[in-house]
Every structure is written in C-alpha cells, then in structure tokens.
C-alpha cells in the first residue's frame, strides 16, 4: 500500500525535477552572475605575460606619482608664466595621473566582465575626455596664463 503511494508521488515529482534542470540550463547568462560560460573543466584564461602591461606599467605609474611631488613643489615657488615648460610638464603629468586614476575606477567598478556594454563605453568616453582635456590644457597654457598662475590668482582673488 505504502509502496504504491511512494511510487506515484515519485513518478509525479521526477519529471518536474528534470524540467527544472532543463529550465536552469535555458536561463540566460548574466554577466557577473552565478552562471559561468563553459564547463567546470575549462581552465581559467590568463592574459599573456607582458612587461609593458605589468612591471613597466606599474613602475611608470609610481614614477609619475613621485614626479608630481617636485613638480607641485616647484609650482608653489615659481610662476607658471615665467616657466611655461614646467607648467606644461605639470599639466600633462596631472592629466596622465588623473587618467590612470579614472581608468582604475572603471576597471574596478565597471569591469567588462560584469558590464560588457557600459564598461567599454566608459573606457572610451574617458579616453576621449582625456584627449579633449589635453587639448584644453594646451590651449589654456598657450593662449591664457597657464594652470599654475590660474590657481595662484584664484587663490588670492
């Protein structure tokens, strides 16, 4: 008697479970979600080793940051109008430093792995903006008083 009941309930439940498995497989791949592409036996892909993307890049970032220290100190004691090359180097270094900082934020918070559309859009928006900023800084340092002098005058305005 009890065997018959067991058999009927299991028979009713099993196709439902099988259907659930199939439904899970058809559930969409969501970037950053729990479902991965590929199988469990696929190895993790690694980018090819490259010093320009690794140690050289890292060292360049640190040298750029460290270089901003004497540049900023020099900007405090000199006038950018009298030393336009110093002003120009400071402007370009600040823009590069800012670009690296913004790019790290995009890599950290809008990685293409999780944001396949908005991530690359933001990266290219940043690149476009940086080019525009470089042109703007060049124009301002060439046709106007330059960044250092502007900050000094605004500060004492």
């Amino acid at each position: 008697m009890s065997t018959t009941i067991l058999r009927t309930t299991l028979a009713r439940r099993l196709p439902a479970a099988a259907h659930k498995v199939r439904h899970a497989a058809s559930s969409a791949y969501v970037p950053g979600g729990p479902i991965y592409k590929g199988t469990v036996n696929d190895p993790t892909t690694f980018p090819p080793p490259s010093r320009s993307h690794g140690s050289y890049h890292w060292a360049f970032e640190r040298l750029l940051s460290a270089g901003l220290v004497p540049l900023t100190a020099a900007a405090f004691v000199t006038s950018g109008t009298n030393y336009p090359i110093l002003d120009g180097i400071l402007g370009v270094s600040l823009v590069m430093h800012s670009h690296i900082g913004f790019d790290s934020m995009i890599v950290d918070y809008l990685h293409p792995r999780k944001f396949p559309l908005i991530g690359p859009i933001m990266t290219w928006t940043l690149r476009t903006a940086t080019v525009g900023v470089l042109v703007g800084v060049y124009q301002f340092n060439t046709n106007d008083i330059g960044l250092t002098e502007l900050i000094a005058r605004v500060w004492t305005a």
Binding site: R7, L14, I35, Y36, V40, V69, G101, Q139
Partner: protein, 178 residues
Amino acid sequence: MMSTRALGLGSSLRKVALTPSLARNRLVVRNTVARRSIQTESLPPSSAVEILNKQRLNRPSSPHFTIYQPQLTWLGSIANRATGGALSALLYGFSIAYLVAPGTFDSTHVVEFVAGMPDAIKYAGKAILAAPFAFHSLNGLRHLAWDMNKFMTVKGAYATGYAVLAGTAVSTVALMLM
C-alpha cells in the same frame, strides 16, 4: 552465558532469536521499498553543466564591504580615491569647459567671478579644495612609501595614517591662510 550477561547483551540476543530475520532488518526493508519506487532518468554527460548551473543559482552572494567595521586602513584608501577623483574631475571639467567656451572660462572671467564672492564662500571654497589636495598629496606619499616596502605593518599603517590626518589638518589651515 556469563559473558553475554556481563556485556548486557542478553535482551538483544533474545530479541534476535524470537523475531523473523527479514522484518527485523530495517535496512533490508528500506532498500526493498526504495528499489521498487525510484525511477532513474538517463542524462547525457553534457547535462552536468546544467545541473551545476542550477546549483550555482542557489548559491548565496558573498558579503559586501558594508559588513566590515570602518577602519583607518581602508577608509584612508577609499578617501585617497575619492579626493583624487574629485580633484581630477575639477581639472577635467575646467579644461573641457575652456576648450568648449574659451571666452567664458578664460582666466580673467574666472578670477573676476571668484573675486566677486563673499569672504565666507571664498574660505569655504579654499577649504573644500585644500583639504582633498593636502590629503591626496600626503596619502600619496604614504602609498609610495608602501610601494617601497616601508611601514608594511599594522602599526606602520596606523602611525602613517594618523600622521597623514594630522598633516592634512595643518596643511589645510596653512593653505587657507595663503
């Protein structure tokens, strides 16, 4: 007989002797019932991924950073990014504004605009600019020191952290008085 009594096995042995063996053995009963009722389904090897993905959907999310106690170590790090981002946004904003409308954002107009502000706003503006600049500069030196493998202890992180905070306060006041 002496030994079974000493071990306390008397009642168990008596039960074994008196009950029929098949009904006594619960394991046998369970297996017989199960063998009759369980239905199996043939699945191809590729369905392993489907079963895995179904299980992956049931997995809990890893705890977010909000569960962590605010500490100087990571607050200083995120403040470094926030202050740097704010200062960079100002640089980007001004440079693009000058590129788009050089007649509006030239130095004469900018200086005139700031000069027309009341003193309270000027000091507030100076504080808003000087504090992130001082913090990001000093904390940047702290990060460069870490990159050279200096102060790489919990004590070193806290000592330099408090030094940066004190230096930021002093520098901000000094810059405001400039």
